[in-house]
Symmetry: D2
Subunit: 246 residues, 4 copies
Amino acid sequence: MDLFALYDGKYYIFSRDGKKKFIRGLGVIDTKRFMDKNEGEKINILGQDFIVLKPNIQDILSAMERKEQIVHFKDIGTIIYLSGIHAYSRVVEIGAGSGFLTLSLIYYSYPGTVYSYDISENVIKNLSEIINDWKLGGNWVGKVRDGREGIDEKNVDSIIVDIPDPWNVVSSAYESLRVNGTFIAYVPNITQVVLLKEKLLKENFKNIDVGEIIERKWVVGERESRPENTGIMHTSFIVSARKISD
Amino acid sequence: MDLFALYDGKYYIFSRDGKKKFIRGLGVIDTKRFMDKNEGEKINILGQDFIVLKPNIQDILSAMERKEQIVHFKDIGTIIYLSGIHAYSRVVEIGAGSGFLTLSLIYYSYPGTVYSYDISENVIKNLSEIINDWKLGGNWVGKVRDGREGIDEKNVDSIIVDIPDPWNVVSSAYESLRVNGTFIAYVPNITQVVLLKEKLLKENFKNIDVGEIIERKWVVGERESRPENTGIMHTSFIVSARKISD
Amino acid sequence: MDLFALYDGKYYIFSRDGKKKFIRGLGVIDTKRFMDKNEGEKINILGQDFIVLKPNIQDILSAMERKEQIVHFKDIGTIIYLSGIHAYSRVVEIGAGSGFLTLSLIYYSYPGTVYSYDISENVIKNLSEIINDWKLGGNWVGKVRDGREGIDEKNVDSIIVDIPDPWNVVSSAYESLRVNGTFIAYVPNITQVVLLKEKLLKENFKNIDVGEIIERKWVVGERESRPENTGIMHTSFIVSARKISD
Amino acid sequence: MDLFALYDGKYYIFSRDGKKKFIRGLGVIDTKRFMDKNEGEKINILGQDFIVLKPNIQDILSAMERKEQIVHFKDIGTIIYLSGIHAYSRVVEIGAGSGFLTLSLIYYSYPGTVYSYDISENVIKNLSEIINDWKLGGNWVGKVRDGREGIDEKNVDSIIVDIPDPWNVVSSAYESLRVNGTFIAYVPNITQVVLLKEKLLKENFKNIDVGEIIERKWVVGERESRPENTGIMHTSFIVSARKISD
């Protein structure tokens, strides 16, 4: 990963490929200007100072266009933890949606490989552009395919599912996973969780676990310290399970 | 990482180095028996079947001795996410304590490097034995040193702090971090958080953020679906901050 | 209510009727001794000091025998608030169980009337003894009856339900309530809530509302201030609804 | 209480005193029209149907003008429960603010008495108008007075405090309470709670308890059942304490 960002309180992420390009919030930028800049150096664009930085996953996601249905920041760490994904992991994602999770999977499995299935050509095309331009890593394979109809990859470390009917990929997920591989689903409704768990039990998945993460942000000062007054109360339940035996 | 485990519902982790060794819960094991076993194969020990597996971070932590004051499972994902740690990261840990976080940092930064400072010789010695035997990775450096008196490493990606007076490492952490590097502290009391935030502001840290994670586990069945009745209500606040400019 | 208690850190509640009686935790007590004592006065029993007090609902519940399945303290205030019960209310309770809610209903509707239906003769008998001895109020009517088979009272202000199949009292509750009267159910599983809501909608109930209360207790001190580490994560969902038109 | 409301999905509360009056949301209403209407009867105003109802505390609060800093609905039940307030209680309120709590105290202590202290003449005047017009009860005494300078009433059952420096009424509250009387404060910041608790300990209050209520509202349907996505994460901590001995 050759990650690069400009920072002025917000993070602007793009590759230094020497081309002119349009960056949301900055306008058209000639990336030649930044070729030889080091981390920490300042750059002036139209009178404003930016710092050259190497962004991390939090910054990368903050630079993405926010759509309604995203995998929420508060859940990404837990999904990564439960999935067991780390360097060199081979991961299959069913339902790429907003791409928030896709980018996270690439970041954590690097230099491994992420295979993203989505039925929308548009979703895969947009993700492809971002991943290429932001130099997130070469080992991403986007597939305009319905993951419920089968998964090509075998012996994968983890399968991450974010579709409305996750129970419909349980069988093919089982076939695709390695022993001790993880199945993770991100599921908004408890009624969906009930159906999913039933199917996971039937297909011989083990260690099935259901949880949700409530994050409380705090305002902290010497005189005023309290949780923030309003916030996210619910996003999705996180369901995890293991394939133990063949 | 050449991770190896036996599984019978619980995970038993050790290296296949051909030596006899004592494994808690299994007794004395001659590891020669497992040298050529593949994932998914069964092994019989004194009449009981075990499956050979490659464990992930969740399994690794489950196999550790539980002491009272641990970094809780529910918080590890969030700490990893906020720290930005992934493959090749260089990480400094101040206060290794139970080792739960140390092992997680090694797992996620692999094949990077983790430097752990702890004032207890015993803590570092025990960790060293586990890390070596479990083949968690070669790039761990344990130091019987007081991190509050200075950090040798420079230009590190992240510094993770789990000591009672985190404000006392803020200055040396700032010096040690690279631009856009992350400072993360795990802090049980809000009164400590107030003191820490004051110091972070004074030392020019930016994007200071305080949160806590409440995890709700669910019991799920067709007829009975509800959150678990009792559980962990609080462990620690997670404080994160960035060094932006030199 | 002629409430009376002795206090030594715990509350011991009984009536001063001049009789000798056995009080759990105190042994046999001759209540003549307390006939003319005023609030705040001390009394010595076998070398230990007790203070004479007028207990409130929290103290009353603290003096009850704790059984497994109780309406939890944290939920009582919310149930009372949503029910609209206050002085002179006429209340029907279906399922008296541990009696925690029964005593609360008597306390808040006083000098109104509470009608408690329970299929267990034992439950009604035990409650009757406590209510009489503790002088909680004369307007309590216990019925060894199955509330699902019909409610005698009409034009009542509120009906409180704590049975495993609350949907089976919805029709008779509707008939029994006054206009703008409240239906409240205490329901452990979300799967039960789904069935109950369906039935409430069908029977023309309005303003159907489902919530749960998470209470976080805090440890507070100058140096250590934090939420308690473990606690109650879930008891029951509280479902409320209104009868609006006849 | 001669409570009266019109209902069309919202509650409009006013007294049927035979006068014409302006009702927010309805315009000018001649209350003579409603003198002889019974609960459940319909009334037509400018082509729209309204039902005549007797409102409860929830409806009463829903009809009040919402200002920013209110005692939140989710907390009222818990405050009432911890205070021990019920029929005939004598209650002192220090800081009437939005009036949400004042009206609740009147409702639950009815036919007792509530004494409200507030330094703002405007607050007391507005409350007086609402309480009189809505016929909430005759035993309310509003005082344009600083409760921190002393409380006239003695032997009261409960003192409820909602001001920025609750520690400054602790001494006079102790003098004013009866034995086993309750002190309740509604406190936004944990830093204020620390100061308050210190003062309560110093003034000999017992059974000091600090908690916060997190309410999760649920969306419930056969296919979609989940907690609401956003909501109130924090309002105030509720601090309760007892005066045990003189």
